[in-house]
Homo-oligomer: 444 residues x 3
């Protein structure tokens, strides 16, 4: 059987605008790996999709880690002698080192300096710093701000709490015909940063919303997690169900102007890897492919050797490769609706391959069947398209020997997956091909 | 044991002339996939080699196909109002759409136009068109002819018959020591077209004649078939014997000035593929290698998944890649004796490898044997040749461990097959190597 | 467990000087495949390392070969009519064809000419010629010497003996924790030639001396053999112990200015091949890699199909690839201490990999362990170094699944072996990795 073509009836322009607007809505919230900002974000996501929100108490052991205490912040500032806020959390939540312990003090500039972080090479950007697992505090500011600070005494305040509470994450499951799952995971712990990773959040939410209206082959599990500790927590609580995950993608940095970049799963030739490569190769756009490395986003956990899931990551410019990364430069101007929608197109095409990658056997394997008498050959139609369709049918017949999936056939023939898929569907409709089950390995 | 070197005692110049003259003889005949032109062609081939001619009745079911009715044509023309033949089958048999049903009519030019085919981009060439499986009629003419046709009434006549009869094909089998066969297949259904495929016919006939005088390892089966329906018919009638075919080549387009092009079998690394690549690589001439695709000549049928025979195709410029293809431009000037003989040389070298590709074991596998005391090392002789011969002996000794054929050794060492073959023969003569049987896989 | 880093506490400059001085000491001796020059050389090596010297009687059958009679030479010359030595063995031992039978005669220049060998293209160099297995005599001289010989009568004398005696070779074994051996083999049969192969002798001797003071994993077997017949003799006498050899290198031509060149073992992907490639790739210096061929030094015998040992060869410019090869141009100026020490560095790095290439399993394979709480992550230290160390730990954790050795991990990550080794040691010290045995195959 064939799943619907996922790209029909989608206005990619509207989708881009919709995703961008959702970024605008989420941008001001001060998120962290725990706390009310994270909860607020999940709440807004659950306005759009059916989201199960989980709370995991501080102190819970999750493999080698412990769920940390919950962090909340109300205000933070540095005031000069005139009572003027020279650094103000209310202006930008990046100004405070994320997970700072509370502080209330008066200090000279000299004493304050070790707690101040700036970027001399990018004097207009505020850096994004965190200290989740060591109790510290600090402020981040632009180099220009720092340079203007005069010697003197400053009032320093971080009105935060670090107390027992819980870690929050959201899960959206869409049931398909199979129990096997496609995992879509994004991190939701970054404060006012757009590409990393509001872009990932909004693309995931859009996808979840869209797929929930479609008759699907696979079940889809969308995870909205705080980075690292969130995926570790989820894996720890779902250890016995993890083997359902057949394919997966980590979604991040999908809104910038850079080219698409696919980072392979640890397995390196899993079906998800081959599907992503096929889409990028046939996109006509520039792209990059990276081998797996155990450094990056939550694929680090999904691809740890005890799980070794077939999870890759599709980004535009990868983390660390754009100067705006983890700075206030990653703002609402750095991401654009058209890049979001272009990324979405690729995600949809990959999912379309996963949904439609079937294995057929040729029921007439000795010599070619006579396509002409069935109206499948040299029938009317645009000449070039028609030749490509015919070629696709010949390839589908030739390689449907029980050891090639449609993706194998598309890759070997060099023909786009969707053309092979349609050719196979036409041949199956005429009784020339018959679908069979195939193992997740996808033999070539 | 060693088979004779197939290239000694052959005058390639004479062979080229002989093949070209046979093309000249066959050129005027109006062939089709059935009928008297095809029979006449096979008759002339059987003047040169022992050919078994088969007749398969119209209506015979051959896998998914049905042998069509037999087509014969005596005359065809379009006469203008003055009774002048403006299109005349007797001048060139391409003028009529091959397999045209009979027609006798008087028509205006306007009514006639849909039945006329020309090539606006090549105004001096008549296109070659067929309609085997749909009952149509039509004429082909040059664009210049078409442009000169004046409005008015024309007398249209195609004096053809499409009646129950039979499909004819020829088979020439040369018995070797083994039952395993090398299949050489060419199509014989094209009318006055030289490269595609009179060149293939004459090269096959020359080869069959030559090999019938030689003591061979393999049996050779030459098939002279109408394209597609012919190979399907042969496979259908020989289904239980097909597994004897160990290697095969489809011969076509071997007379033009282009470089040699080898299209791999579906298996892609069969011994025939490796032998052909070895020959082309060591030829010193430019060449091209194409991966298998299920589009082309009768390899489509031999390589269908139900057979998956080790059949490649060696052409010069492949079909569709020269503008003269399927036009009157593919004439006696388009092919030349020297290109035919160059193609033949490569075919002979490939067959020479198949015949002589043996597997030996080193009977003195621990350390090198002392070649010097056997007169095999640094004996007299041209210095460079001698060094290459010695190297070939060292390679043959080193890799004759039961898992490498001579072709494996030639490929790994980078030394020409014939030099390795001679080195192995010398070592075997001195009791240092012993031939063993090897599977058709040819381990590396 | 981890073996010591072999490159600490070595002064490479001093090692280079030491090796060069040993070359100077050995240079004047007239060595051959048997005889007193060979014995004298082994004696001087045994002044530096514990060497077992073996004597194998002439006539002993060693596989397909026979140990030849022993050759010794006292003097050789050609005197002109004035009694002046125009060719004098005492000036350079290359002047006599090695293994020349004794001769005492008076001859005209015309009669003498067939016995004289020179190099017209290199008129200042004396060629090096041998005739071990055919009884001949001859003189080698520079082209300039030859050109100056006047017609007339010459007194010819070669005061040599070719008598029953023995073939001599030396063996130095250093016991490690394992019975498995690393074989280091060099040829010791060349007379006054520096790169080929005094350089190999002195590097081997230096290595043997150095390793004898270290607690080692493997046992090391150093062989100082006459070329070809020596390794055949050794293999013949040690046939039942050969399977202990797990890795091996043939040492030759390691003192010239050319780039390092690694010639792979016949297996082509043995651990020794991968270790050598890793070292060369990460050296930052230019290098070359050659596929195995059965032509070269004693790897020909070690890699014969009946043994197929994992023995490669690491040289600088390979034999035959420098014009000084086998001429008097391969003298004390052609090799330099700095090139010897550079070659030694690479040998030590390769051995360091062999010694330290272990296989670990991650004891915390589900998700990453929390490195931070163990002080392994983002602790103080130079930032870039620290990031590389952290990456190395992540790679070691990720790939330590029982099917990757540290070398596999280094190769896949692109990180230098020593960094991976240290990362694994740190993780093992914290109980995160545990060493397991692994087969010599080194799975990837």
């Amino acid at each position: 059987m064939t799943s619907p073509n996922l790209l029909t009836n989608v206005s990619m322009d509207a989708a881009g605008q919709e995703m961008y607007q959702f970024i605008q809505e989420l941008y001001p919230i001060c998120r962290s790996i725990t706390g009310s900002g994270l909860r607020d974000t999940l709440k807004r996501i659950s306005d759009r999709i059916t989201l199960e929100v989980h709370e995991v108490p501080s102190g819970t052991q999750v493999f080698d880690w412990t769920v940390p205490r919950e962090w909340n912040i109300r205000d933070a500032y540095v005031k000069d002698q005139n009572g003027h806020r020279v650094i103000d959390f209310k202006q930008c939540n990046l100004h405070v080192v994320n997970y700072s312990v509370p502080v209330k003090a008066t200090m000279t500039l000299a004493d304050l300096r070790p707690y101040l972080h700036s970027l001399p090479d990018y004097p207009d950007w505020i850096p994004y710093r965190t200290s989740y697992y060591q109790e510290r505090w600090g402020f981040c500011l632009t180099q220009r701000q720092l340079d203007q600070l005069k010697e003197g005494t400053y009032e320093v305040c971080i009105d935060s709490t670090l107390e027992n509470g819980s870690l929050t994450y959201g899960e959206c499951v869409i049931r398909g015909q199979e129990q096997s799952e496609v995992l879509i995971s994004c991190h939701v712990c970054h404060p006012s940063l757009c590409n990393d990773n509001l872009s990932g959040i909004v693309l995931s939410a859009w996808l979840a919303s869209y797929l929930s209206g479609i008759d699907l082959r696979y079940s889809y599990r969308f995870l909205f997690l705080p980075g690292t500790i969130g995926s570790i927590t989820w894996l720890s609580r779902n250890e016995d169900r993890v083997n359902r995950v057949k394919h997966g993608l980590v979604v991040a940095c999908v809104g910038d102007s850079g080219k698409l970049t696919y980072k392979k799963s640890r397995r390196s030739d899993a079906e998800i890897d081959r599907a992503a490569l096929h889409v990028l190769k046939h996109s006509g756009d520039p792209y990059a492919v990276l081998e797996f490395s155990p450094y990056g986003y939550d694929e680090r956990q999904y691809c740890s050797p005890g799980f070794n899931l077939a999870v890759g990551s599709l980004t535009r410019t990868p983390n660390h490769a754009f100067p705006e990364y983890h700075t206030s430069g990653d703002d609402l101007d750095f991401v654009r609706p058209e890049f979001l929608s272009d990324s979405l197109t690729k995600y949809l095409r990959i999912i379309d391959i996963l949904e439609n990658n079937r294995c057929y056997v040729n029921l007439s394997p000795k010599c070619e069947p006579q396509l002409g008498k069935r109206g499948l050959y040299r029938s009317e139609g645009g000449k070039i398209d028609q030749h490509c369709r015919e070629l696709a049918m010949l390839w589908a017949l030739n390689l449907s020997d029980g050891s090639h999936t449609l993706l194998d056939i598309a890759d070997r023939s060099g023909i786009q997956f969707s053309v092979i898929r349609d050719a196979a569907a036409a041949l199956a409709a005429h009784g020339l091909l018959k679908e069979i089950a195939y193992s997740s390995k996808g033999l070539v």
